[in-house]
């Protein structure tokens, strides 16, 4: 007769899930990303097949409830997934995060039941890849003056204009687009719409040739008399910017996590190299000039992860986190650049070549201080919250 006892050691659910997710992504990355990523980086190829596989694993709908075909996890698990992907390849992490938190996130947070039922199952499995269009050539952070317009004609909205710097602008199967439905500068003048790829008048434009994040597709989206049914409006007319700001609050956690992953990847590579590389008969890690660098880098990474975890925790609880997510994004992205810079320095001449991973971390990290709100905009958001 078997004597049954309860299992005595249990990690917290978050910790155990996060550990398993991290391990899953490391295993996946070894097999499906690491062997090819430098080739994709060189050619700027967007490896759509990788995202289909991430979809099969449930990583393209991390936050989407299971009733809509998603994984039904919270922000802690989501942050872990982005960090682990970014430790391997920041641009895969970026595309995964943009799909999850922007397009899918907008529909999840603000769409009606019928829109959710129609779009989320395909997005959560990556049967459809998503894009999210707010930025325009002349209006990045100043979204209220955007040129893209949507005009109601009968049962349809007619969209005209162009968006740029859009992740998956060419390859997305569906996009959430913010267009102006009021006068320039007027309050509440933007509305959000869901546009499917096959819609006449919707096309991808020029693909950007970037410094880093080169296998994440960044391109224009063009709307030329693009007619979409009235039911594709998300929420009410004029809600678009308010919705977008909430989406960006979550998006900042994504970029903070992305930054943490890139910084940790660079730190790990530099720590290993400093122990292997010998000069004057000793590993260079034994010189204080290098070991103190590593200590500072590691402390910054840990602080960035704690800020990101704090923002994720507030988001999970549904509490306000505008200030905390902006702080996490600001700090994590800035230290990501610093840590990657120091990692290149520790590698010396080899760090400047493509034979070692740190030059890619260095190039990829810079996007994090710019995308989804520059560091300067994060400071604006934080100071506004402080001075309310």
């Amino acid at each position: 007769m078997i004597d049954v006892k309860s299992a005595e050691t249990q990690l917290t659910p978050h910790a155990e899930n996060q550990r398993m997710i991290a391990e899953m992504i490391r295993d996946f990355g070894k097999r499906e990303i690491a062997p090819y990523m430098m080739e994709w980086d060189e050619s700027q190829e967007f490896p759509i097949q990788v995202f289909k596989k991430l979809g099969e694993l449930g990583l393209m709908g991390v936050l989407v409830p299971q009733e809509y075909g998603g994984s039904g996890f919270g922000y802690h698990e989501y942050v872990t997934a982005i960090i682990e992907l970014a430790k391997i390849d920041g641009s895969i992490g970026l595309s995964m995060a943009a799909h999850n938190s922007l397009c899918t996130g907008h529909i999840l947070q603000h769409a009606n039941e019928s829109q959710k039922a129609r779009f989320l199952p395909k997005l959560a499995t990556c049967e459809w890849l998503g894009a999210w269009g707010l930025t325009e050539p002349n209006t990045g952070s100043d979204a209220g003056n955007m040129k893209t317009t949507a005009v109601k004609e009968g049962d349809e909205w007619v969209i005209n204009g162009a968006k740029n710097f859009i992740t998956h602008g060419i390859s997305a199967d569906v996009a959430v687009v913010i267009a102006r439905t009021g006068e320039p500068g007027q309050s509440r003048n933007g509305s959000a719409f869901i546009v499917e790829r096959e819609t006449p008048g919707f096309s991808g434009g020029r693909k950007e040739n970037k410094l880093g994040m080169r296998c994440s597709e960044t391109a224009e989206m063009i709307f030329d008399n693009c007619r979409i049914p009235a039911e594709n409006l998300i929420g009410e007319v004029g809600d678009g910017f308010v919705q977008s700001l909430k989406v960006l609050d979550g998006g900042r956690i994504s970029i903070a996590a992305l930054s943490c992953g890139i910084a940790e990847g660079a730190l790990d590579a530099a720590t290993a190299y400093a122990q292997e590389r010998h000069q004057f008969g000793k590993p260079i890690a034994s010189f204080q000039g290098i070991s103190f660098k590593l200590a500072e880098m590691a402390t910054k990474v840990e602080a960035a992860k704690l800020l990101t975890s704090q923002a994720a925790d507030l988001k999970n609880q549904g509490k306000p986190m505008t200030k905390e997510s902006a702080m996490a994004k600001l700090y994590a992205s800035e230290i990501s650049v610093e840590v990657a810079d120091e990692a290149v320095q520790i590698f010396g001449g080899y760090g400047y070549t493509k034979d070692y991973p740190v030059e890619k971390f260095y190039r990829d990290a810079k996007l994090c201080t710019i995308g989804e709100g520059t560091s300067e905009i994060q400071k604006l958001v934080i100071s506004r919250e402080l001075l309310k």
Binding site: I2, V4, P13, N17, R19, M20, M24, G58, Q66
Partner: protein, 245 residues
């Protein structure tokens, strides 16, 4: 079909190996543990067989509480339930006795495990379980297909392959390419926590082997690289330095 998959909890293949307590214990500091790679193949094939033929998969580990994260991973990959025999897996015969004890109660059609663990690499447990249960044991199994109550097996032998048919139940020690390792997905991870994991006492504490001391193999010596064009130098080194010619 009821399948029992026995898994080991072993240091990751890239772990640095060192010892403590006067070289009598393995130093676990900073070591990451994984499902034994050969056991992982066995589990992956079990998941495939369940997809093809239906049934259930029970995963079994002989280990202390620290092995539970490894067991949860097996549940995330696709096992339906787990049993942990709460004991340190001190030697092959002790582990085999625990497996046989659990397996006898479960009436399994198939008992799969890796051909060997990758910590002690004994490769003895599957044969011992077979003996203890009076069932056939086959290893290393590279192909395993089920037709009705019969299994068609290919196993590796010296210089070739052996093809055999075998009635269930039996024990198989598995190796690649029996299946491709499976990576758990997010749903598997979510459901792993709610799947049953029973902890049972060992049948007895009849440990038969005791470690006196561990020793690391001698460090690898420096390697001399010789240009492929420079055969004279290679011959000279083999003759005068390595003295193997």
């Amino acid at each position: 079909m009821k399948i029992l998959v026995c898994i080991t909890h072993v240091p990751d293949t890239t772990s640095k190996i060192s010892f403590t307590d006067g070289n009598t214990k393995f130093d676990k500091t900073g070591v990451q543990y994984i499902i034994g790679p050969y056991d992982d193949y066995a589990l992956a094939r079990a998941v495939e067989l369940k997809e093809q033929h239906g049934g259930s998969i029970t995963v079994l580990n002989v280990g202390e509480a620290e092995t539970e994260p490894t067991i949860r991973k097996a549940l995330a990959i696709g096992a339906d339930e787990a049993i942990r025999v709460n004991a340190f897996p001190s030697d092959a015969f002790f582990v085999a006795k625990q497996i046989a004890s659990v397996a006898k109660e479960g009436a399994y059609d198939l008992i799969l495990m890796g051909r060997e663990s990758i910590d002690f690499n004994g490769g003895q447990v599957h044969s011992m379980v077979g003996e203890l249960m009076g069932l056939p044991s086959v290893s290393p199994v590279m192909v395993l297909d089920i037709e009705g109550s019969t299994a068609k097996i290919q196993r590796e032998i010296e210089g070739g392959k052996e093809f055999m048919e075998l009635d269930m139940p039996f024990i198989a020690g598995c190796q690649e390419p029996i299946a491709e390792w499976k990576i758990p997905n997010m749903r598997g991870i979510m459901s792993a926590r709610s799947k049953p994991l029973q902890v049972v006492d060992p049948t007895d504490d009849g440990v038969q082997a005791d470690v006196e001391v561990f020793e690391l193999p001698p460090a690898k010596e420096a390697v001399k690289l010789v240009d492929p064009e420079n055969l004279d130098e290679l011959v000279n080194l083999l003759k005068n330095e390595a003295k193997v010619l």
